[in-house]
Structure formats: C-alpha cells, structure tokens
C-alpha cells in the first residue's frame, strides 16, 4: 500500500472518532436503583405489565452473580452508568425533521445515501431512542412493521405482548436481566404470513455520550411462510472510560419462514458489549445469524438458535477480529430440540497485537431430537506472538442417531504465502491484509454488497500497522 493510500485509510478511521455536543432532554441519574427502573417506565408511559416485567428483571439482576466463565467483567462499574438518555422528544418520521446535529452525525456515517438508494427501511438509534425511522410505503401496504421497539409496544400491543420476553426471559442470564430492566429502543419487525420482504431491513446503532449504557431490545416476529433479512451495524465514538452495551435480540421464526440476521459490530475499543441473541426456529423454518465483531473492548456474544420444530435448520457464521486490548469472546449455539433438524456453525477469528479471540460454542441434541445433522467448524488465525486464541466447544449429544462433526484449527499466516504475494508486487502489509480477507471470505460473501465493502474496509483498518 502506498503512503497516500495508507493516509486515506487512517483518515477514514477518524470518521468514527467524533463526539457531538448533544443537549439531552431527559436522562436518568447515574447508577441503577428500583427508582431508575420506575422512572424509565414512567417516562415512556408504559403499560403496567411492562413495569412489572422490568421490576422482576431488576430483582433478578441484583440476585444473579456475575458470570465467572469469562474474565474482566468485574471491571464494569454499574453505578457509573447512565441507564437512560433521551436525545430527542419524539420519533421522527421524515428525514427533514431530524435535528441538524444528529443528522450531521448520520451523514458522516453515510446512512441517508444508503437509505435513499435502495433500502426498504431504516431505524437508526441515537443513544437510547429511535430518532429516525422510515418504512417504505409498499412494505407498509403488505403489512410489514418495522419500527422502534418502544413505539411498537404502543401500536402493536397484542403481538408485542405475545412474543416479548418469550425467547429470552429476564432470568436467562445476568445481562439479559439488566437489559430487561432498563431496555430502551431497538427494532421491532413483524412480517405477516407469506410475505417475502424483498430488501434487507437495516438499522444503525450508535452510542454517544460517555458512560451511556445502551440497552436496546430487538424483537423480530416472522409469520408462517414469510421471509426477511435484517441488518444491523454499529459504530461509536472513542472515549477513555468504559461504556456498556447490553442488548437483547429475540427472533421468532414461525413454520416455514426464513430469517437472516446480520450484524457488523464495530464499537469503539472502550465498550463492553454483552449481548444475548437468540432465535426460536419452528417447523421447517430456516434461521441464519451472520455475526461479525471487530470493535469493542470486550464482546460476549453467542448467537443461539433453538431448533424447536421438526425440519428446522440453522446456519451461524461468526467472525471476530481482536486487536490490541480487545477480547472477543464470541461463538454460537445450536440447540436441537426437535427431530430432523440441521445446524451448521462456522467460526473464524483473527487475533493480533496482543488481542484475544475466544470461540465458545454449544451444540446440544436433546432426547427425542432424532435424525439431527450438525457441524461445527472453527478456524483461528494468530498474527503475532503477543496474541491469544482459545476454543471452548461444548458438545452434548443425547440422541443415538445424531450425526455431528466438529473441527477446529489454529495457525498463523505462512511465510510462503506472504512471500508469494510479495513476489507479485504486494507490500508485506497488503499481502497479509489480502490473506486475512480471504480467510474471512466465508463471512464477507454472505453480506449485501455495500456491507461487504464496508466490512473489508474495517478489516483493513484493523490490519493497519499489524506488521508494526
């Protein structure tokens, strides 16, 4: 790479590193108490059942010990976090109504162009509230709902109450409990029977504001024979003290539906990103998680698919890049609860500059789930001596005619490959970059094109200076 190209890349990087001066209209006091939870619920003017749900979750959060199987979480100071912040009074329907400063932020991220061109709908989350939102007319006509989760609670109370918290109850884990207590924002997607959403639905999430916790809650319900693809990507400004992002994503794939959920996670390197994502896949449905993690200080995230109906299938692709000071503790879970279900997990990780990439996965075949076919493939690439790579797969099979295979490899880039590419005129850095991109190709090729370009650029940024 020539010097000018490299500078260009560095300049590119800077566009993620800004902080806007926003006047927050409403925010809760630092720290979490029962009163904070009540205040959030009151500010949102929620039904009584939701306040009860939040309080039940809050009680469980207090009781539940911190998980011990991963490290570093004890550094989160829950008392220093602002749990709710509302940057704008109401949800915006039109781009013109969005406050200029927020608009400027999004414009630097390139959202509106993408939206104008061909996106079917955009919900962008600025801190804790969805401020901008549009769903194309034809989607509304065919009954597809794509809106902020808070709004959906008011406008679609029946669907909401039927599914909310059924996939991930507050008692699932400590962070699911935290999210359930203070959740705000996130996306709600409802696709009616037989509807094939022709374009991916996209939502951008951003954290702004030091020590702002962002606790979005996403609920996706896909009715029988329907089809949808949902894409989320994240960026956040860089700060010195630690931010917290604790999300819950619930997906319900009803019989014969097809759902794809794509994430590109690029939080700044001070964010603790602790996310519970789970899908219930019913009879003959197909669910895909495509999950990439390049940012954050620590990410703990294992997208899970519970195969609950006969013939359901699951595909999970998990990609992680861990650089200096980062720990990507990611992976996937496939829980087979019904006969003739299939799952495939592919994990690729890259660790460099002292970063740590951990694959943690679970594959479970419950009694009664006959005829299961499952495979897990984990590959890790380590770019230097300072980095670390771990693989922790749990495989629990309780049914006799399961066919399961698991494979994992860890290695480095071979000098032969580098040498070969350099002999073709590439610099060492470019050669390494190319090999890493090739290694992650299984992920990139599943992305919509603009995302693939964006993701490759992110990897390139991450790779910058990898050879020091």
């Amino acid at each position: 790479m020539t010097l000018t190209q490299r500078q260009q890349v560095d300049n590119d990087r800077s566009r993620f590193d800004f902080k806007d001066e926003i006047v927050y209209l409403t925010e809760t006091k630092r720290g979490l108490t029962r009163a904070t939870v009540e205040e959030i619920s009151a500010l949102k003017d929620e039904p009584a059942w939701m306040l009860e749900f939040r309080l039940r979750a809050y009680e469980h959060f207090l009781k539940r010990p911190m998980p011990v199987w991963t490290d570093g979480l004890d550094r989160i100071n829950f008392d220093k976090i602002v749990y709710y912040r509302k940057p704008s009074e109401r949800e915006e329907k039109s781009w013109d109504d969005v406050p200029d400063q927020i608009k400027a932020t999004f414009e630097r991220l390139g959202i509106p162009e993408a939206e104008r061109k061909f996106l079917s709908g955009v919900g962008a989350q600025y801190d804790s509230e969805v401020v901008y939102h549009s769903v194309k007319e034809e989607l509304s006509k065919i009954g597809v709902v794509f809106m902020g989760t808070d709004q959906a609670l008011k406008e679609y109370p029946d669907i909401f109450k039927k599914y909310f918290g059924t996939v991930i109850p507050p008692e699932d884990n400590k962070f699911a409990a935290l999210n359930s207590a203070v959740w705000s924002g996130g996306s709600f997607v409802y696709v009616p029977k037989g509807v094939d959403v022709p374009l991916p639905l996209q939502a951008y999430f951003r954290i702004n504001g030091e020590n702002t916790g962002q606790f979005e809650r996403t609920l996706i319900v896909v009715e029988e024979d329907a089809k949808v693809s949902y894409v989320e990507g994240c960026t956040a400004p860089i700060y010195a003290t630690e931010s917290l992002h604790v999300a819950v994503v619930e997906v319900i794939a009803l019989p014969r539906s097809k759902v794809r959920y794509t994430t590109i996670q690029n939080w700044s390197n001070d964010v603790y990103n602790l996310v519970t994502k789970r899908a219930h896949a019913y009879e003959d449905s197909h669910v895909e998680w495509i999950d990439a993690n390049t940012g954050s200080r620590k990410t703990v995230k294992y997208p899970s698919i519970y195969l609950r109906g006969r013939g359901a299938s699951a595909d999970i692709i998990s990609v992680a890049v861990a650089g200096r000071g980062q720990h990507q503790d990611t992976g996937a879970k496939a829980i087979h609860l019904a006969p003739d279900t299939k799952s495939r997990i592919v994990s690729k990780s890259v660790s460099k500059d002292g970063g740590r990439a951990t694959y943690r996965g679970q594959l479970k075949v419950a009694p009664g789930a006959t005829g299961v076919v499952a495979s897990v493939r984990c590959d890790a690439l380590m770019l230097d001596d300072e980095s670390r790579s771990d693989t922790y797969p749990y495989i629990d099979i309780q049914e006799t005619d399961t066919t399961m295979s698991h494979e994992a490899t860890v290695g480095k880039i071979s000098q032969d490959q580098i040498f070969y590419l350099m002999s073709r005129g590439l610099s060492e850095n470019e050669a390494q970059n190319l090999i890493v991109q090739g290694f992650l190709d299984v992920f990139t090729k599943e992305l919509p094109m603009e995302y693939a370009i964006e993701f490759n650029r992110l990897v390139k940024l991450e790779m910058e200076g990898a050879l020091g």
């Binding site: 790579s389 693989t391 495989i395 005619d401 066919t403 399961m404 860890v410």
Partner: protein, 455 residues
Amino acid sequence: MTDALKLPFAGEDRVRRLSANLKEPKWLLGDRLAAFKSYLDLPIETNNLFTLYVDLRLARFAEIDPYEETTEAPQVADVVPEGASALIEVAEDKVVARALSAEAKSAGVVIDTFANVLRNRPELLREALDGGTTLPANDKFAQFARSHSALGVLIHIPRNAALEKPIVVRWAAGEPGRGLVSRMLIDVGENASVSVLEEQLPTDSHAEAASETQPQSLWWGTTEVRLAEGANLNFAAQQDFGPNTLAFVNRHATLQKDAQLNWALASVGAQIHKSRIDNHLVGRGSGVRQVEIGFGGGRQLFDATSYTRHIGADTTGDLLSKGVFLDRARGYYKGMITIEKTARGTDSFLGEFAMLMSKQARSVTIPSLEIDQPDVRRASHASSVGPVDETQVFYLMSRGLPREVARKFIVLGFLEPVVSRIPLGDAQDRLRRLLEEKWPASTELDAIGKSEAAA
C-alpha cells in the same frame, strides 16, 4: 453439584494415622498434611469450563471405609508372568505378588512399595515426591490421594536401562464398603525405555451387577510419571472393575527433552470412572501420544479430563478419545490443550469421538484449545458423534454377516486402535473379550435395530 465432594473418610487424624502405620519419615507426613490442606481448600472442579460436567450423584461415599493399613500377604508370589519382565499385584489391602525377571534385576530396576523403598533407598522417593510436583496442585482428587494414600508403588528405571518386556501392575478391588487409596510413581531415567501394563480387576466374586443394597467399593489411585531426557514409556491400562466400584484416577506426567510417552487406556468397568490426565511437555522435542477408550453400559459414567501443556519448543501431542455408550451410560470427555508462549513449533491434535448405541445414552465432549504461541506446526481438534454407519453395516451384511454381528464388528473396530496398543498379547485378547462380552445379548440388539428402523 459443584463442591458437593464431601468425603466422610477424609480427615487430618486419618492422614496422621496412615502415615504412622507406614512408619513414614517426617517429610512425608509434612507432604501429606500440605496436600490435605490443598484438598480442603480446592473446589471439586477449578476449571470454570468444566464445572457443569462433574456428576458424582451415583457415589455413596458414606458407606465406604477405606483401608487404613496395607500389608504384604503371608505368601507373596514371586513368579514373573510369561511375556513380562516384572509383576506387582495388590489385592484389596494386600501385596500378593512381586516378581522381577533376572534381566530387570540386572538392569537395576526397582519395583516395590513405598514402605519398603523408604526403608532401603529413601532417596529414590524423596526427591520425586517431596513438594507434590508429580500431581496437579489444583485438583482436589489428586490432593486427596496425595494426603490419604495407604499404599505406594514405585517403579524405578535407571538411566539407559531398556526392558523389552512389559512390567505388569495389577490391582484387584471390589470388597463392598471398603476401598484402597494408593499412589504409583514411575520414574524413568535418561534414555531408559520401558512399558507398563496396568490391570484393574474386580476381586473374585465381586463382578456382579451394580447393587443398590450393597455398599459400593472404592479404588482411588494415581500414576505419577517422570521421564528424564530421552526416556521412553509405553503405558497401557485396562480398567475392568466390577459395576459396584467407584474408580478415581489421576495420571500426571512430566517430560524432559526428547522424552516420549504413550498412553493407551481402556475403561470398561466401574459405576463411575473419573479420571484426569496431565501431560507437561517441558523439554524440547518431547511428545505424548494418548489414546483413551470407554465402553459403558447400564448407568456407568466415564468422566475423563485431559490437560496437555506444551511448554518446550517442538513438542508433539496426539490425543484421541473414543467412547461407545449403551443403555443409560454417559461419557464426559473434557480436553484442554494449552500452547504456551515458549512452545514454538508445537504439533498438537486432540480428537474426541463417540458412538451412542441407545436412546438414553449421552455423550458430552469439550475439546478446548488455549493458544499463546501461533508459531505452530499444527494445532487442531476434532470431535464427532454418530450412530453406527449404516453403509458399513450394509456392506458387511452383503458379505454374509447377520446385522447384529456387523454392528458389533464396526463398534469393536472403532475401539481397536487402543486395543492393538496393549503391549501383552494375552492382555490384548482379554480386552477384546471384555469388549465383546459387554456387547448386549441379541434380543436387546433386535430392539435397538427395530427402534432405529422405526426412526
């Protein structure tokens, strides 16, 4: 389940009595007491990855009173079995046989109880044992053996000694309500080479089915291996205790430069067989090859943990576990390979494979890797679980074999890689027989075949 290990027979008084009964020197009592403190302090499983997969609910420790005194039988047999170079045999609380071939004697090999060695050549033990470095410091079960052993066996192979024929170590256990806690130290000198066959058998008449009414019996032991530069050990074990026995085993090996270790371990018997293997590849060029099989039926639980730490450069690890589970049997295979920063040029493979033969059987495999050094020749693991391959059955049936015979052949073939590595021909045949006998009667097989056809 966690921290549920309360052994009613563990206690400082007992530790002191055990040491006094064996007339042990002060340093050894001190070592036992240090171990007892560790035992008290440690949780049942220190590795957070594995805590969910420890299950001792089938153990009824309260009914067991382990032996506090061990003795030599009035008549200690001194005949070396054919094909072997030495034998030591312990039945319940007694040493019943001890024999050394002329070849082994002249090579300077020592095989004896700790008690005898402490009288004659205490230096052979103190350097190895004092401080507890031959057992994992973070393992409650190992620390229990270190503090509460009632018998020790030393196998000492001097430098450059090479025994062609294996040393046989035989343990018989099964007395209801009783148990033996023991240690075994295998110390192999520079460039020495030896093979050891360990047989764990039911005491005559205690091989019948697991019983709720009869107290359980206990066998709790260690294999502590030290391989000096260039040393070579082939260690094979067959565990065939009766179904009413609880077996706890720690195997721990430290390998210096260019040392080579082969483990071939077969488990067929016992109600619970809980084992942990630690391989420390310290010296450059050292290597371990480990093959473990479990064949379980009834409500048997095989709980097998294995840690391999690559510390020196150019070390090799090749680890393979295979399990076949009938009835309500369970296998928990927990593996961890660690490649430390110093271990450039590591070649490491971990494979965990299982076959489930019944709907109630369960297999858990956790083949983990922790890697701090990317400059490796290979670092990978693989795991698979599956039924008997119907294509293979079909092929064998087309060659005239009845269905159940075909299935049996395929299962035995799956386990054969371990069987073929047992060093004594007789012992190999015996293991094959054991595995075949484990195969259910043809009526049960019909049931399995039918349920599969239906599914």
